[in-house]
């Protein structure tokens, strides 16, 4: 059932949503807009389409404790040290980020199940929001994502002076129950919502990157793409930083490290980037010795390996963060264009 709320009362909504659980939503952090925990003082920024990082952080945080070891004399004991499980809501997730959770589910929920991720996934409710003003860096549509009708436990729209609230799942319905009293019924506004969706889709169709074609990017092209001479040219400017990976909503590689606190050992996992020279470092060294190989790995993974292993699902959702943030303006769209063109010729 579609509900609505005057945007003036959003503060009350957030207050309610934050009762008994954490509420994460796009906030102003030193002039930047990024997801953060809501507080009454926090400056909520729903006007900016893109947060610096994605909603991935709440399901797969950058660092996470796994276990600890403590030594006493010559004895070592193992101590559970997982972060506490607690319910939370992520509000204002855009269509691309909402879809990214499907990609992460494929990785972490398949056997063997990642219990850390699973627990967070179960505890988290996703309240997505339709995009109002898509940007030129967006290309979600080529992955079949509808910016105007995102997935999520609850989907919201801001149209005019109202926030429209549309529950989609059981989790979403349960959440709705806790805030329902603030809303009024909006069943009658469905044509208004539909019109707004149409406007967004119209803009999306005019976005420059939405004309990209993914034709030829599938498992059958593995050898051909892998062996392409274009990789060296595409990667030559790459500085090997991890910006693209860390702002990416679907990158899911991590490293496990031990930290000696002086009183014991903390084993934790943290994001890792395939762009780094010490990624998957083994005794004999790095299996991908040059930046060309590391660069190729990232895009081959997103565009070829992942879909080949996951029923054609690409591990890119077209959010465009890497397009906006790469220090040298190299990104997946340039790769798709370059390698796709080669196939067509």
């Amino acid at each position: 059932m579609m509900l609505k709320l005057s945007i003036e009362k959003m503060g009350e909504l957030f207050q309610r949503l934050a009762e008994g659980r954490k509420l994460y939503l796009p906030l102003d952090r030193g002039g930047q807009v990024d997801f953060g925990p809501w507080t009454p003082e926090a400056k909520v920024r729903l006007d900016r389409l893109k947060t610096i990082k994605s909603a991935k952080d709440f399901f797969f945080p950058q660092t996470e404790n796994i276990v600890s070891f403590k030594r006493q004399g010559k004895d070592i004991s193992i101590i559970e040290n997982r972060d506490a499980e607690e319910p939370f809501v992520v509000f204002g997730v855009r269509g691309c980020d909402a879809r990214s959770l499907d990609v992460l589910d494929r990785v972490f929920l398949c056997d063997p199940v990642d219990s850390f991720y699973k627990a967070r996934r179960e505890n988290g409710v996703v309240v997505s929001m339709a995009c109002s003003e898509p940007e030129e860096t967006c290309f979600c549509s080529i992955f079949g994502i509808d910016a105007a009708d995102p997935q999520g436990d609850v989907v919201t729209y801001i149209i005019g002076d109202f926030l429209y609230w549309d529950e989609r799942t059981d989790k979403g319905r349960a959440l709705t129950e806790t805030v329902k009293s603030l809303f009024s019924d909006a069943s009658g506004d469905s044509s208004l919502v539909e019109r707004s969706r149409g406007e967004i889709r119209d803009i999306v169709s005019r976005l420059p990157l939405c004309s990209l074609s993914l034709e030829g990017f599938d498992g059958s092209a593995l050898k051909e793409k892998f062996g392409s001479p274009l990789w060296s040219e595409l990667s030559q400017a790459c500085v090997g930083c991890g910006t693209c990976t860390y702002v990416c909503p679907t990158c899911q590689c991590y490293d496990i490290q031990d930290f000696d606190t002086g009183h014991g050992i903390r084993r934790f996992r943290c994001w890792d980037s395939c762009m780094y020279s010490d990624f998957t470092l083994m005794a004999h060294g790095n299996p991908r010795k040059s930046q060309v190989e590391r660069f190729r790995q990232r895009f081959m993974h997103k565009l070829i390996y992942f879909p080949a292993n996951n029923d054609g699902m690409y591990s890119c959702v077209g959010c465009g963060r890497c397009v906006a943030k790469c220090p040298i303006s190299m990104n997946i769209t340039k790769v798709i264009k370059a390698l796709g063109v080669e196939v067509n010729v």
Partner: protein, 661 residues
């Protein structure tokens, strides 16, 4: 994994009174790697040491921690103990629980706690120790002395007398240096030549000394005990082996317009010349700039008159490569250029001269055959003004901030000599201070004033002007608070002295550090005054700082004794706690080289293999024989490629961790 033994010393009651030694031994047993611990009344006694040796054997220890007095006290003792038991001596760490624990604290509980932490830190460090082996290097039993003045000659003679070979490299055609130019020496007034020339002869005749005159050091490589030096023997144009030193060539040479360097340009010499009569070697040199044969191709008179057939126009520079164990820098000094001192009219008036020029004028073998005559008209001067501190003690750009040290005394000498030879000459000396520390120095100066009637005026000369052949000297007399005008015939300037300009390039070549005035710096200003910070490089004479002849000779002897001490060893055992470069991490950026005070770091192109990535690139290399292990390079290295053995980053951080735990 290490097997560590911890040995806690009571030091009688010195430690045991404030620290529960048993508790320290017990507590350290729970530290990683510790397999054995004990305590003993006097760990450094034979009983204690044998307990250590036994435990090493019995428990197969790979390292030991001794909790005792300061490592400055007994680290060496316990290293030896470990070595006797077959352990690498660098697998020993000391926890200083006496000077830095039991002696400064009263409370036994607190003291024990701290001792446990200090022991823990030592264990933590030891866990990251690796056996270190000190490098050995051969000592080549030959010394090189650069500079053939009195400093170089004396050092060479002393080293040679001890039975070691010495080479002297001198850039001018003869040895003797500045001292050979002097007339008399203060305060005894004996003749410089009379005391110097026998030494010159000794040096040339010594079977262990080889002279390379008219030669310069071209390049150097190597390190203490093992330097390789290229010496450029400049072409003399005369075959030294054939020349008999008869001097006919000099006499017959038609080109006699070159200024005599030895006589400070006060008279001329021929194009083929020896600097002075007693020059050693007594072999002439052809000055190609003024030689008619070399300039026009015509002449060849010298070749025609030489019965020994020694003239060789085709002779070329020769590079001689020799190896040395030690190098002595004895590059000496020169008076500063007075060009920018317009007020004294040095450039304009021939009768305004420097003190060194005055020495030549006084000298019986000099341009005036010892008669003091004015350069302008060869008339004897009736009034002579000496000006001290010309360019010394000056902070303005053309001067030197230091006191040149010798001027007060030689000026007194000049004044005295002048008054003695020509009692009717009036002599004035303008001075700021008269500095006469030294044996019989002040007496000497007072004699000049009291017995010889030299007029000492406290003040400076502000202006010298030439008027009708006379020099009008305007100065201040601060005691009388007057401005005095003296009509003089000659003005003698005591120019500041500075290191010979060749010192700078040699300093760079040998990485011998220099101060801002280009004097070589000593390894320690008080305790190691004749050694350069760079091992194997020694300093003799004025190149280290202004000094007179007695000081120079004394320092030359001291440098020689240091050289002998080095050369008497067959091998040098290095300190293994030196810097080491981890090549795969090194960028070849040169920052480490810039901070190394010893020049121990060089760069080489190496094939670096890092986890299968092969690349030939520039990496830094530490010469372990030169490195002294200060660690300056390790901190300046951003990549952490440079580390210091025995004090590695990981070792020190382990200590920090253990202390802060």
């Amino acid at each position: 994994m290490q097997k560590i033994g911890v040995f806690v010393c009571w030091c009688g009651s010195n430690i045991a009174a404030t620290v529960d030694v048993e508790a320290v031994a017990q507590a350290s047993l729970s530290e990683p790697g510790v397999v054995f611990s004990t305590n003993y009344q006097y760990m450094c006694s034979e009983g204690g040491q044998s307990a250590i040796r036994n435990a090493i054997a019995e428990h197969g220890l790979t390292g030991i921690v001794v909790c005792a007095c300061s490592p400055r006290m007994h680290e060496a003792t316990f290293r030896k103990t470990a070595a006797v038991a077959g352990l690498n001596p660098y697998m020993v760490e000391i926890a200083n629980i006496r000077e830095q624990c039991s002696w400064i604290h009263r409370d036994k509980e607190e003291g024990t706690k701290k001792a446990i932490i200090l022991a823990r830190a030592a264990v933590a460090k030891l866990n990251r120790n690796v056996p270190l082996i000190a490098g050995e290097s051969q000592v080549i039993k030959r010394a090189l002395v650069i500079g053939g003045g009195i400093a170089g000659i004396q050092t060479a003679l002393d080293v040679a007398d001890a039975g070691y070979e010495v080479d002297i490299v001198e850039k001018t055609p003869t040895i003797g240096g500045k001292m050979a130019m002097l007339d008399k020496t203060f305060p005894t007034l004996d003749c410089a030549a009379c005391i110097l020339t026998p030494k010159m002869v000794d040096a040339s005749a010594h079977e262990k000394i080889s002279l390379f005159t008219y030669s310069e050091v071209e390049s150097v490589s190597g390190f203490v005990g093992n330097f390789t030096v290229n010496i450029r023997k400049k072409a003399r144009g005369v075959n030294s082996d054939l020349c008999t030193g008869c001097g006919v060539c000099i006499e017959k040479c038609p080109s006699k317009k070159a200024k005599s360097e030895f006589n400070q340009g006060l008279c001329n010499r021929s194009a083929i010349y020896i600097p002075f009569a007693q020059a050693i070697p007594n072999v002439p040199v052809i000055d190609r700039e003024s030689c008619i044969k070399f300039q026009t191709g015509k002449c060849g008179v010298c070749e025609k008159v030489c019965t020994a057939k020694a003239i060789d126009y085709a002779q070329e520079d020769e590079i001689i490569t020799r190896q040395y164990g030690a190098i002595v820098l004895a590059t000496g000094f020169k008076p500063i250029s007075l060009e920018s001192y317009d007020e004294f009219q040095y450039n304009q008036c021939p009768d305004v001269i420097t003190s060194l020029e005055f020495e030549r004028i006084c000298n019986a073998a000099g341009p005036t055959k010892g008669k003091v005559l004015r350069p302008s008209d060869h008339e004897p001067p009736k009034t002579v003004v000496f000006v001290q501190c010309v360019g010394s003690r000056a902070t303005v750009e053309c001067g030197k901030t230091y006191c040149s040290k010798i001027c007060c005394m030689y000026t007194a000498k000049h004044a005295m000599l002048l008054r003695e030879k020509y009692p009717d000459t009036e002599v004035y000396v303008f001075y700021i201070d008269v500095r006469t520390p030294g044996k019989s120095f002040d007496e000497f100066y007072r004699r000049a004033v009291e017995e010889y009637g030299v007029h000492y005026i406290k003040g400076m000369v502000g202006k010298v002007a030439e008027e009708d052949g006379r020099l009008i000297v305007q100065g201040s007399d601060l005691i009388a608070d007057k401005q005095v005008i003296i009509e003089a015939d000659m003005v003698v300037l005591a120019a500041a002295i500075e290191p010979d300009p060749t010192a700078r390039s040699l300093g760079t070549m040998f990485t011998a550090s220099m101060d801002t005035n280009d004097f070589f710096t000593e390894a320690h200003p008080k305790l190691r005054p004749v050694e350069s910070p760079t091992a194997g490089i020694y300093l003799s004479g004025l190149c280290q700082g202004p000094k007179d002849i007695p000081d120079t000779v004394a320092q030359a002897g001291a440098a020689a004794s240091k050289v002998i001490g080095l050369l008497s060893k067959d091998k040098l055992v290095g300190n293994p706690c030196v810097a080491a470069c981890n090549e795969p991490l090194c960028n070849g950026c040169s920052t480490c080289e810039l901070v190394c005070p010893y020049g121990a770091i060089t760069y080489e192109e190496h094939l670096v293999v890092d986890h299968g990535v092969r690349e030939t690139r520039r990496v830094s290399c530490v010469n372990e024989a030169i490195c002294q292990g200060c660690g300056a390079c390790t901190v300046t290295c951003p990549s952490g490629a440079m580390d210091l053995k025995g004090f590695t980053n990981l070792q020190i951080m382990a200590e920090v961790d253990a202390i802060c735990r």
